[in-house]
């Protein structure tokens, strides 16, 4: 079963953070990332993961009465934004929940598990 694991977090927590602090935070979460990649690699070696550029850089596109309207993002006014996503093929929902809980953002944000419709 293919799943998208959508990583939600509050990106404003990185605003005004200096390089030193950012480096410290990254180093701190490193062991968790290592565990995640190990486990995800074992479960599905072809898993993919991508981090997204901050939602404040997003563009929102709509067609309104046949006209293309482009506005600055983000689209929603919620604090938690999608900051990245994983695509992975796992045996079942229990395994997807186990893997999702290993993503560091599960501690300070949340993970949304979305099964991918099979064609």
């Amino acid at each position: 079963m293919k799943y998208a694991l959508l990583v939600y977090s509050d990106q404003s927590s990185w605003e005004g953070v200096d390089e030193e602090e950012a480096a410290r935070r990254r180093a701190e979460s490193m062991p968790r990332w290592v565990t995640l990649f190990e486990e995800m690699g074992k479960a599905d070696p072809s898993s993919e993961g991508r981090e997204l550029v901050a939602a404040s850089e997003a563009k929102v596109v709509r067609m309104v009465d046949g006209e293309r309207v482009v506005t600055d993002g983000p689209f929603a006014e919620t604090k938690e934004m999608i900051g990245g996503l994983f695509l992975t093929d796992l045996p079942d929902l229990d395994e997807a929940i186990r893997i999702a809980a290993l993503v560091p953002a599960a501690e300070y944000g949340s993970l949304e598990i979305r099964p991918i419709v099979e064609m």
């Binding site: 796992l90 045996p91 079942d92 929902l93 229990d94 997807a96 598990i113 099964p115």
Partner: protein, 404 residues
């Protein structure tokens, strides 16, 4: 003939659905195939007689039906895979069905998976594991049949689309998942147990269903003391069913029940099952609740009951358990202690039993004026006519005693 067909249906439905789900990897497809097989049985058995091995006949017929259906409907890739697996399943209608691995436990865990809404778990369990027909479940839960049918369809779709596994959870997940299964069975029981009036008699069938399912669980998981604890609890509670409501449907408190109405056979069975659970020496919340129910049935010393509630609180530190423990402490003779525990309770705002219990302890302590205030608080919180009558009666008693 009809009796035999019905009994076979109830016994063989979950077994066949489980086997076909394992093979097809799809609960909806499996259910359709088994349903068709039973329809064929309904047509043939009255004419040709019941086959020697009804279970194997159903599985073989469902298998053949599924093969036909898949040949007609599926895309090639899925078709080839499913057909290959179906071929491996015996088509011998005279085979011993017990020679096919029993998948009913996997079916039960799938139906009770926490990714499903609680009411969906209950409906799915009754449909697939208890083998109740959709209209029966709808009647028992007092919901329109189309609503319940929708609920089942949605639940099955979710099982398929989110990848809810069809299996008994591995050991590391079992301590998390078994309580989910026990909870669903307990919910089914309580739904039936809450029914008191004649019009609701059909709902009482739910108690029997829950007991049947709990027995099945004990057969399938003979090393799980909490499964036996739950079964014991259900049997002991059910034994008091006839005594717990009066002529007008009002609730009769345990202490006031006519004990000759208690079902002695059910009590004995409950006690035996509880013994078996306790012999495994791994206590848990259902065993403790069963032990408390057993204590009530046998007139055990109230101080023992209070200790059992204390142990239960360790497992389930909920306000309702704390309330019950406080009352048990008071009944064991420590009225002041019980009252202090009640006054320390938080998180029960709006729950009429809290002021009602306080009122009762204050009355016993002779603090009539405070008791009257508490009775009025309790009356303001309940709509239940039987409870209101009881509380109003007590309020009258305490106010009469203060005006002297």
């Amino acid at each position: 003939m009809t009796v035999s067909l019905e009994a076979t249906f109830r016994e063989e439905w979950p077994r066949a659905v489980a086997i076909l789900t394992r093979v097809l990897g799809d609960l909806s497809l499996a259910e359709d195939a088994v349903q068709d097989a039973f329809a064929t049985a309904l047509e043939r058995w009255p004419r040709d007689g019941v086959p020697r091995s009804p279970g194997a006949w159903i599985v073989a017929t469902a298998r053949n039906g599924a093969i036909d259906r898949i040949r007609r409907e599926r895309t090639f890739a899925r078709k080839a895979e499913m057909l290959a697996r179906l071929q491996d399943l015996s088509d011998d209608p005279d085979a011993d069905v017990s020679s096919i691995p029993d998948e009913r436990l996997a079916l039960l865990f799938t139906c009770c998976h926490p990714a499903l809404a609680v009411e969906a778990r209950v409906a799915l369990t009754l449909r697939e594991v208890a083998g109740l027909a959709t209209p029966e479940i709808a009647r028992a839960f007092l919901v329109p049949e189309p609503t319940l049918a929708q609920r089942l369809v949605r639940a099955k779709r979710r099982v398929r689309e989110t990848g809810i596994p069809f299996r008994v959870p591995p050991d590391h997940l079992l301590p998390d998942r078994l309580p989910d299964v026990l909870r669903v069975l307990y919910l089914v029981f309580n739904e039936g147990y809450a029914a008191t009036s004649g019009a609701e008699l059909v709902r009482r069938e739910l108690c029997a269903e829950a007991i049947r399912l709990a027995k099945l669980l004990c057969v399938l998981m003979p090393d799980e003391p909490e499964a036996f604890g739950l079964l014991a609890l259900l049997l002991l509670q059910d034994s008091r069913r006839e005594a717990r409501s009066g002529r007008d449907g009002e609730l009769v408190l345990l202490a006031d029940q006519d004990r000759s109405l208690w079902d002695r056979a059910a009590i004995d069975e409950g006690l035996r099952v509880l013994d078996r659970a306790e012999a495994m020496r791994r206590p848990g919340p259902y065993q403790l609740q069963a032990a408390i129910a057993a204590g009530h049935a046998e007139g055990t010393d109230p101080s023992v009951i209070a200790v059992l509630y204390g142990a239960l609180e360790q497992f389930e530190p909920t306000p309702v358990v704390r309330l019950n423990r406080a009352v048990a402490v008071a009944l064991a003779g420590d009225l002041e202690g019980g009252l202090a525990l009640l006054d320390a309770l938080e998180g029960l705002d709006g729950y009429s039993y809290l002021p009602a219990a306080r009122a009762d302890l204050l009355r016993r302590l002779g603090r009539a004026e405070e008791a009257a205030v508490a009775y009025r608080d309790a009356l303001a919180l309940t709509e239940n006519a039987a409870e209101r009558r009881f509380l109003a009666h007590r309020l009258e008693e305490v106010t009469a005693s203060t005006s002297w």
